[in-house]
């Protein structure tokens, strides 16, 4: 049995798209396999460890995101960079993805700084990009369909140091132009997909858990297969809604 340590950043401020659902999925899928999850919540002003197995950064309302941005840069960025260099997993969703990049320029030109874990930069658009998303993601060399919902005003473009997390099959993705969704550098992932992300995408959840267990134990860990029938029914239902809405 192993314990995976997750550092949940700003659960009080960045929780708007049901981010705790992602944490629940990590916890149960470990428990069902005889492992366990230990979560450390880090709020504004808290110092964070630089050796957690995984860090989670969710999304917030604009007002909360601005409050958090300064604290992230001042009290947590250095530890996060050391952690990422040491093989920790970072999952940043929606607003958290924007903060994990270089920063966010608002419609009025104001700049909210990011921490540069991902080579991605975001500029506010005049309309919000909202709707169901289906993307294709490389999971251990195999293309896997990942479903979710997006709701963001930011248009994100990637630099050369990050690859797209996925390729858009339906929806807007990073910027509604280049067909990319999210960003990945090593084991740091940013994405606009909530829903939340992990319940309906069990293969992705297990990829992240495999990485986190590897960090926790120092070597590869085989994950026992689970009965994901319900997870895949929900996954297929989400894809079906995309098709139905498109033809409606």
């Amino acid at each position: 049995m192993s314990t995976v340590r997750v550092c949940h950043l700003y659960p009080n401020e960045l929780n708007i798209y049901a981010d705790r659902g992602n944490i629940a999925v990590l916890r149960r899928r470990l428990e069902w396999r005889g492992h366990e999850l230990s979560v450390v919540d880090a709020e504004i002003g808290d110092q964070i460890p630089d050796d957690a197995d995984m860090y989670y950064l969710g999304g917030g309302q604009d007002r909360d995101q601005i409050i958090v941005a300064g604290d992230l840069a001042q009290t947590k960025a250095e530890a996060l960079h050391r952690a990422a260099a040491g093989g920790s997993v970072v999952l940043a969703v929606c607003g958290g993805y924007q903060l994990a990049g270089h920063g966010y320029t608002g419609v009025d030109g104001t700049r909210m700084p990011g921490i540069g874990l991902l080579d991605a930069d975001t500029v506010a658009g005049t309309t919000r990009l909202i709707g169901d998303v289906v993307i294709s993601v490389d999971v251990g060399g195999t293309p896997v369909t990942v479903v979710g919902f997006e709701n963001h005003a930011g248009r994100t473009t990637l630099g050369g140091a990050s690859a797209p997390f996925g390729t858009v099959r339906h929806g807007h993705g990073n910027n509604d132009i280049d067909g990319t969704e999210g960003a990945i550098t090593g084991r740091v992932i940013g994405t606009y997909l909530h829903g939340p992300l992990l319940p309906k995408n069990p293969q992705l959840a297990d990829m992240l858990l495999g990485w986190a267990l590897e960090h926790a134990t120092g070597g590869p860990v085989a994950l026992a297969p689970l009965d994901d029938a319900l997870e895949m029914q929900a996954h297929r239902a989400a894809i079906a809604r995309v098709t139905e809405r498109r033809s409606a």
Binding site: A18, G21, R63, F149, N151, H194, G195, A234
Partner: protein
């Protein structure tokens, strides 16, 4: 464009409504208003100005329909001839349709009572020029439709700044985002819940608006009543909850059937047994008392009026189906679902639940909100659970990852089969609690109408 004469516009638009009903396109609750406003853009202003007793507008994330109904019951004691919009038809066209339908009434209506969608509120307040504006709460809701709560709070503040100095605001003192809307330039009646026993152990996960509106510091709660509402203050800048003028000093929850209330007001106490369960309905009733007093309704009529009020369709609505009692608790966002989860737990017996999750336009396409709801306390109280709706599998996952054994629930996406499955396993004498989203509620309710258990909604008033 040419503006059609008023009489002709009204006649044409009314014809559309009749046609819509005859074609079975529902109650024709919006289409006639759309036609009317196309023919005559200022029709709402014109028709509203004929209401000699003015109008009252109510808005909130949760509780609009029920509170509107409670206020309507108070207004009825004064025998004011009242026009009001149907539940759900709460956008500009719905209000226009309601006014249109009332024009031909003889004698003509003298008072308007309108529940209005949060987004449509500023425009409708401008058009209706109401005497009283009741604002009850703002919770996170359907982020894909409404956007962020802050956006609505800001649009309401701008709307209030433009109101005449005579408009009376009825505001919830316990909701920091609503209390902050008092701008000092017009009369305000604050309402709130003072009962010291009305308290949750902690702020729920889905709590919003927990930062001070003045200085953005985290608020301190001496008492949390519901969601982010309660007795709040800011230790940093000293901003605090206003003292309610109309206060529920005593709230006694009578299981899942109702509440006993003692409400203090500047004109003396109002006591009532209201046939609507749960703390959220204590807020709805207290808001209704404040609104009734702002309208000048006789104080002694208010308690009996609340006691006589019946549930609005789908909102704690009780119906009998093949010998079983079924209670519909509309649950369409995290705060609303949380109070529903708390309310059904007031039933001391094992709970028999039918939960229905749709993701259509009126529900919001984004179903991620179910992960913000605290369903976990239901697990230990569960008798049976049937899950239905367009996104039944998503709701199933919500319970699986809450810790429920997959074999303990039945997932049946088809609502009629799900209802039958839930009724079939319901022990005699027990109640089935139905927790649907908005369109899921309409669907289940139309099945109940077909079975003669409930009234079609456009006849419901």
């Amino acid at each position: 464009m040419t503006i059609a004469p008023r009489g002709l516009s009204v006649a044409l638009a009314r014809g559309i409504g009749a046609l819509s009903r005859r074609l079975g396109r529902g109650g024709g609750t919006s289409a006639p208003g759309r036609v009317l406003l196309w023919l005559r853009p200022k029709a709402i202003q014109e028709l509203a100005s004929t209401l000699t007793r003015g109008s009252l507008v109510i808005s909130a994330t949760n509780g609009k329909t029920t509170t509107g109904r409670l206020i309507g019951s108070c207004v009825a004691t004064e025998r004011w001839r009242t026009v009001s919009n149907r539940a759900g038809a709460n956008l500009v066209f719905g209000v226009a349709t309601a006014l249109l339908d009332a024009v031909a009434d003889e004698p003509s209506p003298e008072f308007g009572l309108f529940e209005v969608d949060e987004f449509a509120l500023p425009e409708l307040v401008t058009r209706l020029a109401p005497r009283v504006v009741v604002l009850m709460n703002l919770f996170r809701d359907q982020l894909d439709r409404y956007g962020e709560l802050e956006t609505i709070a800001e649009s309401w503040a701008r709307m209030i700044a433009r109101l005449p100095a005579t408009t009376i605001l009825v505001l919830n003192a316990d909701d920091p985002a609503i209390a902050a809307l008092a701008d000092g330039n017009r009369p305000v009646v604050f309402f709130g819940v003072e009962d010291p026993s009305a308290r949750l152990d902690a702020l729920p996960h889905a709590a919003d608006s927990t930062r001070c509106r003045v200085c953005a510091s985290p608020l301190v709660y001496d008492r949390v009543t519901l969601g982010h509402m309660g007795d709040w203050h800011c230790t940093h800048c000293g901003s605090r909850r206003p003292t309610p003028d109309v206060a529920a000093d005593r709230v006694t929850l009578l299981g899942t059937t109702g509440i006993d209330l003692e409400i203090s007001t500047p004109q003396g106490a109002v006591t009532a047994r209201v046939a609507l369960p749960g703390m959220h309905n204590a807020y709805n009733a207290t808001a209704a008392v404040a609104a009734a007093l702002a309208l000048g309704i006789a104080h002694e009529h208010i308690g009996p009026a609340l006691a006589n009020a019946e549930a609005a369709f789908g909102r704690s609505e009780r119906v009998m189906v093949s010998g079983h009692e079924v209670v519909l608790f509309l649950a369409k966002n995290p705060a609303g679902a949380n109070v529903t989860v708390q309310t059904v737990q007031l039933d001391p017996d094992p709970l028999h639940l039918l939960i229905a999750l749709n993701d259509r336009t009126a529900d919001g396409n984004d179903v991620s909100w179910i992960w913000d709801v605290d369903y976990e306390p239901l697990l230990e109280r569960l008798g049976d659970l049937v899950i239905t709706g367009d996104r039944a599998y998503d709701m199933g996952l919500r319970f699986v990852y809450a810790g429920l054994d997959r074999a303990r629930m039945r997932i049946e996406p088809d609502p009629e089969r799900a209802l039958d499955a839930a009724l079939a396993q319901l022990p005699a004498g027990r109640c089935l609690y139905v927790l649907p989203t908005y369109t899921a509620m309409l669907g289940l309710r139309s099945i109940l109408v077909e079975r003669g258990a409930a009234n079609a909604y456009w006849h419901d008033d």
